[in-house]
Structures are given as structure tokens and as C-alpha cells.
């Protein structure tokens, strides 16, 4: 594993390229340890039947490409041009105006000019022109065309796996060119040759087999919830057992498995459990599933087909259990997939009913087709209808800001609901600068399967713009807690903030909800879910 340079080193970035230099087409990529992830392991590809499994290392000279690799790529490219108007159009209409150039967090944090979104897409476009357009064929380099060589393929791979598919570039492009879409389809091409990263391939195989990325088997999953039940009992004095795989429940709950197994997501998971218990006596009938125990979808970082294969479990499980609708936890790309693809992939879910909150009677009309409601939506509705007794002062030790995850932001437009919930459960909330939130939000730098340990330098660089905005509110308002509604965020921000902004922790929204939630008959709470003393409580005891 590469050592990650110190922040002062990392911060030495120059965004200007020298005046006279060779054009980018003539400079092959130089893969740098710390910037890329390990290659996919054969057993993970084999498990899901992906082509060309092999033991390979991106740092090696030889990538063990099959004999006819060029034809495979060109065939695959053509096939996708015919199936996706987005790709064809985005290959053709970029005017290289540069509006997107300085919008990518990976460019901002690395200064590598090939991380400008326009250039990232040009890497593919150049080959596209040469192969599929008259102008490119005739004019060659003058027309911006370039032969597909092994160097070019390696360059593709290197830069396609330096894009977190966050779509920030798309927002600023006058034609809506979405480099994330180009990345997604470009990655599909690399997968045709067995070239993915193991940090993506392993979760895909795990999810296929056990239902979740971490490969947690059903009994272990249950153990974990039991463990949280004990923890919650210690804090509140109430035992909050959860239902699992229960047929006939009204609602199926699906959340990213990161919440179940990694801090600080686990606190958010405890938050879900507490909320569900709170609502049980009011008529909530909900179950968790071990088979569909993953909301996130790493298949989406492999190919549309793999995303569809993994996504299928949610509806299948809903059908088997006979629930009426599905509730989804706090997750980023999970919601992008649910919002943009789920019904198209695996619908229509006509065995389900249009979601209605059993507690408020609110019809979730915006989820009429997918039958899948966002937990934060659900909670916001509860709060709006005064269904929850909340004591926001229990979060008074927190000065909170909110990170819009790129997927719920630019892939959904989910901005107000989380803010409404947060403001209802805590008293100190500050926004980061407006050009870094909502639709202009910056990626955590580790999305789309880049959250491995071996590419830490890339992640610290990519997360710099986000961290910089957090630093701003940390210094200005004393913000000490970054809240988010994405499991990857919860997994990767602690490292990022420790690196750039020590002193700021990370939380999910439902952790704060659960802290504030006042239960009938609970023991006096002296700590929050993390076991940290609650503000004011210790003083009262002293008196």
C-alpha cells in the first residue's frame, strides 16, 4: 500500500499546465501508487460470471489482455452507442468550452489535467472519433482522432477509476453532458476485459451471494442487530428487538450494509432501530431482510446489467415476504439507482401497493411507481405531523452541518427533507458555502467504489474541496459534526476530515433523530448513542 503524503505535501497543487508541451494525446498515463485500486481478483469475477478473470496488478506492464481485446472493446463501444443515446450524443456535441474543467473535485485536488471532466471524456472521444466518425477517420489527429492502443486502454482505466460519477460537471455543462455517464459506460467497456478493481468486484460478488457487500451471512447480520439491541438497552433501558425476514409485514426495510458493520454508520443503524421501535406501538409493521440486506449497488460501478442483477433482490424479497411497500435507508448511490433505474430495471412492482404512511396517512405520491420511500422522507412526514416527541437539546453538544451526497442531490434532487429533519432534532445547524452544497455539492472523493485503503492519496485529494468547505464552517461557526445521508460518506469522511479538518466527526441523520427521540418509560439518558456524555446531564447529576 502506498504511503499517503502529508496534507502540506498534498496541498501543493498547480492547476496550470506549462505553456509549451506535448499535446495530451501523446503523453501516456503514469499510474501512481495511491491513486488507483488493486485489480479485480479472479474468484470474484468468476462468481458472477464476468469475462476474463485473472490475477493482475495495474502497476504491471502486462495486463494479460486477450488476443482480440481491441475487437472486444470496439464491438462493446459500438453496441453501447446504439443502445444509449446519451453516449452517442455526449461523444459528439462537446464544444470543449471548459465550463466543466475546474468543477471536478479530482481535478481541483490533484491538478492532473486529465482529471478535467472534459478531458476524461475526451480520452474515449478521441478513440470514438477515429473509429466511428468520418471526420476522425479522414483527418486523424487534426480531427481529434486517436488509435486505440494498449497505452490508451490503460489510460482509460486509470482515469475512469478516478471519477466518482458525481455528475458535478454535468450541472455546469451548457449541453448537460454528463461525464459520469461516460465513465459508467467506459467502465462497462473495461469490464469486458476483466479490468475492474477488487474493491468493486468483491462487493459485487458478496452482494450476489449473501445479499450485501460485506458478505455478512444471515446469522451474522442478525447477531449484529442483536448486539445493537443490547447497546440501545444500556442507553435507554428499553429492549428494541427487530423483526427479520418476517412474512406478512406491511413494510420491508432495506439499508446499506455499511450501516450495520462500520462505525459511525452503526449509530445510524441504531437510530433506525429506535425509530422503528418507537413507532411500533403506533402501528408500524416493518421487517428487515437478510436476503435483500444491501441498499447500495456496486453493480452500478460495473455495468448496467450487473446493477440490475443486484437490484432485483429488493423486489423479489418484497414479493416473497408479501409486504405492501419498501422503505429505504440513508444511502447515496443506492438512491440514485432507486430513483433513476429501479423500476426500469426490475419493474413493474405491481404486487406492491402505493406507499402510504401507516402513521400519518400520507400518500407518498412521488413513489407511486417504484413503491419505495426514502426513510428521511418518511421521518420528515412524521415530524411534520407531530408524531414524534423530540428533545433537540439532547444534541446540544453538536454543531452540525449537512453534506448533500452527490447522488441524492444531482441524481434525485433531495435537498429539503433532510434539512427539515436535522433542524427539528438539533439546535445548532449551519450551512456550508452555497457553491458547495445542494446541487453544487462536492463529492466525498470516495464514491463509486473508490473507497479502498490503497488509493488513499486519491481520496484525500478528491475530498479536498468538500473538506475545505467543512473547514470553513468549522472555523467560522465551530461546526463539529458533519451529517449526511449516505453510507459511503459515513465510511469515508472520518478519514478525510481527520486528514484535512481534525475536530469534525461524522453522523447520519437518524442517529441524531434517535438521540432526540423521547421514549415513554425510558431511563434518564446520560449519554448519546456513541456513549458520549449528554450535555447538561452530568451537571444536573452534580447538583
Amino acid at each position: 500500500m502506498a504511503t499517503t503524503p502529508k496534507p502540506e505535501e498534498t496541498a501543493k497543487i498547480d492547476h496550470r499546465s506549462p505553456l509549451f508541451e506535448k499535446g495530451w494525446m501523446d503523453k501516456p498515463a503514469e499510474p501512481k501508487p495511491g491513486i488507483f485500486c488493486y485489480g479485480s481478483k479472479p474468484k470474484n469475477l468468476e462468481y458472477v460470471g464476468m469475462p476474463f478473470p485473472k490475477e493482475w496488478n495495474p502497476a504491471d506492464e502486462d495486463w494479460q489482455l486477450p488476443e482480440n481485446w481491441k475487437e472486444i472493446i470496439e464491438e462493446g463501444f459500438k453496441d453501447r452507442l446504439d443502445r444509449f443515446r446519451s453516449l452517442k450524443l455526449f461523444m459528439d456535441i462537446c464544444v470543449r468550452c471548459g465550463a466543466c474543467a475546474d468543477k471536478c473535485h479530482f481535478f481541483i485536488g490533484s491538478g492532473d489535467p486529465k482529471n478535467m471532466p472534459v478531458l476524461r471524456a475526451e480520452l474515449l472521444r478521441s478513440v470514438y472519433r477515429k473509429k466511428f466518425t468520418t471526420g476522425g477517420k479522414l483527418l486523424g489527429k487534426f480531427g481529434g482522432g486517436r488509435e486505440l492502443t494498449e497505452d490508451v486502454l490503460k489510460e482509460w482505466w486509470y482515469y475512469l477509476y478516478q471519477c466518482s460519477e458525481c455528475r458535478r460537471c454535468s450541472l455546469f455543462c451548457p449541453y448537460g453532458i454528463d461525464t459520469a455517464e461516460v465513465t459508467i459506460l467506459g467502465r462497462e467497456l473495461t469490464n469486458l476485459l476483466g479490468l475492474n478493481t477488487d474493491w468493486i468486484a468483491a462487493p459485487v460478488a458478496n452482494c450476489y451471494r449473501t445479499g450485501n457487500h460485506l458478505g455478512i451471512q444471515p446469522h451474522a447480520y442478525k447477531d449484529m442487530l442483536d448486539f445493537f439491541t443490547d447497546e440501545i438497552e444500556d442507553i435507554t433501558g428499553i429492549r428494541m428487538e427487530q423483526d427479520m425476514n418476517r412474512k406478512g409485514a406491511e413494510i420491508l426495510f432495506v439499508t446499506p450494509s455499511g450501516d450495520v458493520f462500520a462505525d459511525p454508520g452503526t449509530y445510524t443503524c441504531m437510530g433506525y432501530m429506535m425509530l422503528f421501535h418507537y413507532l411500533k406501538s403506533l402501528g408500524l409493521d416493518i421487517t428487515w431482510s437478510t436476503y435483500a440486506s444491501e441498499g447500495g449497488n456496486f453493480g452500478y460501478f460495473t455495468s448496467h446489467e450487473m446493477a440490475k442483477r443486484l437490484n432485483a433482490k429488493m423486489y423479489a424479497e418484497a414479493k416473497r415476504l408479501g409486504v405492501k411497500w419498501i422503505l429505504g435507508g440513508e444511502c447515496g448511490h443506492m438512491w440514485r439507482v432507486l430513483n433513476q433505474y429501479m423500476d426500469t430495471f426490475n419493474g413493474p412492482p405491481d404486487f406492491l401497493e402505493e406507499p402510504v404512511s401507516p402513521l400519518t396517512g400520507t400518500k407518498f405520491e412521488n413513489a407511486k411507481a417504484t413503491k419505495m420511500v426514502h426513510l428521511v422522507e418518511f421521518t420528515a412526514d412524521l415530524i411534520k405531523h407531530n408524531k414524534l416527541k423530540l428533545d433537540p437539546s439532547r444534541n446540544d453538544n453538536l454543531v452540525v452541518t449537512f453534506h448533500d451526497s452527490c447522488n441524492t442531490a444531482r441524481g434525485m434532487g433531495f435537498f429539503e427533507e433532510p434539512r427539515y429533519v436535522i433542524k427539528s432534532v438539533c439546535n445548532h445547524f449551519y450551512e456550508m458555502p452555497s457553491e458547495t452544497i445542494r446541487e453544487q455539492t462536492f463529492c466525498c472523493g470516495s464514491g463509486s467504489g473508490l473507497n479502498a485503503g490503497e488509493d488513499m492519496e486519491l481520496r484525500m485529494r478528491g475530498g479536498l474541496p468538500r473538506a475545505n468547505a467543512v473547514k470553513y464552517v468549522h472555523e467560522k461557526h465551530g461546526v463539529n459534526m458533519l451529517s449526511c445521508i449516505c453510507a459511503i460518506d459515513r465510511a469515508v469522511f472520518p478519514d478525510l476530515l481527520r486528514y484535512w479538518v481534525p475536530g469534525v466527526e461524522v453522523t447520519g441523520v437518524h442517529e441524531m433523530v434517535a438521540n432526540a427521540l423521547v421514549f415513554e418509560g425510558e431511563q434518564k439518558r446520560t449519554t448519546d448513542l456513541r456513549g458520549e456524555p449528554l450535555p447538561g446531564m452530568e451537571d444536573e447529576e452534580d447538583v
Partner: protein, 352 residues
């Protein structure tokens, strides 16, 4: 490199009619054949391209959501940037096409280090938007103004536009009083905007890095188009009546080339022909492409309206039965409900 290649290419473009008409007197070729060929290429090319794009389906609904989605009645949504239905999409597209809304959002990165600590700011940056919008609108006005050359009688709105455009004639412009015609505002704006777009490409290292010959080429072409047009208007005056005769002939499909039109006109015309013939093969197709862009012209409604993928096919999935077969014993031990009893496990093969 790219700049040199493309400026040479444009010089060639200028030289061809100069020699062709000036020296060889190929008036019919440059006045009739080439314009027709160029126009045919333009229209056929665009249609073919658009049909080609249209043939690829839009399998998924992938709008970029730039505002609050439609959810609860008590949450203020953004119907334009995150449209729910057709109406919102139309407004969004109008904003996009008429005001270059996305480009208007543009900011510029300011990266500094203060004592080794990075400070990132996003500066106001509207120049690109301004240049782009001035350029496109000036071009449009100039285009409409040219109607007076090939329409008889000249439509009223053209005259009106022309007068508005030429209001500098009122005496403010320095050229007046030298016996020169009034200066058109749009001529100036167009040239200024295109010059800025060009200078920007050369000056900013990021722009220089991403620019291809095919980025400079159209800029040079448009610059020389404007320049030759202005030369014609302000210096080497050509016989407008004869030009008009030619233009109307072209549009009535009974073309003739009147004698006595200056070479400069043929240069102007030829540049135009090259531009429009080049159009369908180049990035200039963004003109048509912007309307088809799936991130802008789709509504964000896939959670409540079903969207069908025309090439969707069944995929292998890992079924619950297979899953339970593999983990049944563990599940029973953990007290999780199962479909089949413990003895079912014995019959099925264990994977691990």
C-alpha cells in the same frame, strides 16, 4: 500547434475563392455550385445526424436534478431545474436554449495556499456566458439582417431589426461623417465575442490543454467570415443590387451570376459555405444536440411514472431459494424464519 494548423486551414479557405474567382474567374462554381453543395450538405448532414442520434434509445431516465424534487405539498420544489412533467421540461429547455442557464451557473476556481493550508474559493465568472450569449445572439441578428439580401420585398421585422441594430448611426460612432454607412452593433459584438472566445482558449492553460484544431478552426472561420463581411460593408463596397440578384436567384432555384460583383464577396460566400458544410461533421452540431440531451430534456419522474427500456432483457439473479439452500442451517440456528425445514438442507448441495 492546433492553432497554427487551423489558421493555415482557414488561410487556405480564404485563398481558394481568391484564386478561383480573382484569377480563374470561376464565378459559376463559386457563386452557384458550391453554395448549393454546401447547403445540401448542411441540411442532409444535420438530418442524418439527428436521425442517427434518435435511433439510439434513451433506456433510462437520467435528468440532472438541479433543484428540489417534487415530494410533499409543504416542501417548496423547483419545477424548472427538477421538472416533474412535460411543462417543467419545456421551461427548462427554453431557459437552457435561450439563456444558456447552465453556463450561467459557471464559477471559477481560486486555489491558494496560506501557510501551506489550501484555501479554495469559487469566483464570480460570467465572461464565458456573456461571450457565448453575445456571440450567438449577434450571429442570429446578423443572420436575420441578411434576409434583406434574399427576400423581396424585405420583411418589416428585418428592416426594424436592422434599424435597431444600426442605431449607432445616430452619430455616436466615429466612422460616421466619413461617408461610411452606419456601424452595426452586432458586427462589433460578434467580433468581440469571438475574439474573446479565441483569446480565452489561448490564454488559459486549461483551455489550451483541452483545445483541438477543430476548436480553433470554426472560430477562425467565423472571424474571417465576419471580417470579410465588414470589409465588404465598410471598405470595398460591393454592388448590393447584384448580390441580391444572385441570392434571390439561388433561393428561387434559377441561379445566375451577375457580372461585376467583387472578389471579396466570393470570399465571404465561400467561407460561409465551408462553415455550413463543415457544420454537420463537427462540434457545431451542439445546436441540434442540446435539444436531445437526456440530462436536460427528461423529467425526474421515474419514481412515480414507469419508464420502459426498449432493449431490456432478463438477467441471471441469485434467487432466494438458492440463498436459503446455502445458508439454511445458519438461519435456523439463528432463529431466522426459513421457507423449508432443516431436512431440506440435507438434500441440497452445500456450497461452503
Amino acid at each position: 500547434m492546433s492553432i497554427i494548423v487551423s489558421s493555415l486551414a482557414v488561410l487556405v479557405v480564404v485563398a481558394i475563392p481568391w484564386i478561383g474567382v480573382g484569377a480563374l474567374d470561376l464565378r459559376v462554381l463559386f457563386g452557384i455550385v458550391i453554395p448549393y453543395a454546401a447547403m445540401a450538405t448542411f441540411f442532409v448532414g444535420i438530418v442524418v445526424r439527428v436521425i442517427d442520434w434518435g435511433r439510439s434509445p434513451v433506456p433510462f431516465r437520467i435528468p440532472t436534478t438541479a433543484g428540489q424534487e417534487w415530494s410533499f405539498p409543504w416542501i417548496k420544489r423547483n419545477p424548472v431545474d427538477n421538472p416533474k412533467g412535460l411543462g417543467g421540461v419545456i421551461v427548462r429547455m427554453l431557459f437552457e436554449v435561450l439563456t444558456f442557464r447552465s453556463l450561467f451557473r459557471n464559477t471559477r476556481l481560486e486555489y491558494r495556499r496560506v501557510d501551506g493550508v489550501p484555501k479554495i474559493d469559487y469566483e464570480w465568472e460570467k465572461w464565458l456566458w456573456l461571450a457565448a450569449i453575445l456571440f450567438h445572439y449577434s450571429f442570429l441578428v446578423i443572420f436575420i439582417r441578411h434576409f434583406r439580401f434574399f427576400m423581396e420585398p424585405v420583411p418589416g421585422f428585418v428592416t426594424l431589426l436592422q434599424n435597431l441594430d444600426g442605431f449607432m448611426q445616430m452619430g455616436a460612432a466615429p466612422f460616421n461623417g466619413f461617408g461610411l454607412p452606419g456601424v452595426y452593433l452586432t458586427d462589433m459584438l460578434l467580433m468581440a465575442a469571438v475574439t474573446w472566445l479565441l483569446v480565452r482558449r489561448i490564454l488559459y492553460s486549461q483551455m489550451r490543454y483541452i483545445s483541438l484544431p477543430s476548436d480553433y478552426f470554426p472560430l477562425f472561420l467565423i472571424l474571417s467570415l465576419g471580417f470579410s463581411g465588414m470589409l465588404m460593408r465598410y471598405l470595398f463596397r460591393v454592388d448590393v443590387t447584384k448580390v441580391k440578384e444572385l441570392a434571390i436567384g439561388l433561393f428561387k432555384f434559377s441561379p445566375t451570376v451577375p457580372e461585376g460583383i467583387g472578389v471579396i464577396f466570393f470570399i465571404h460566400l465561400f467561407i460561409l459555405c465551408v462553415l455550413i458544410a463543415y457544420f454537420p461533421f463537427s462540434k457545431l452540431m451542439h445546436l441540434a444536440g442540446v435539444f436531445l440531451s437526456p440530462t436536460r430534456n427528461l423529467s425526474n419522474n421515474s419514481r412515480f411514472v414507469r419508464h420502459v427500456n426498449p432493449w431490456s432483457y432478463p438477467v441471471p439473479t441469485h434467487t432466494y431459494e438458492e440463498y436459503e439452500d446455502e445458508f439454511r442451517e445458519h438461519m435456523i440456528e439463528a432463529g431466522l424464519p426459513v421457507e423449508k425445514g432443516a431436512d431440506a438442507t440435507a438434500g441440497s448441495e452445500e456450497k461452503e
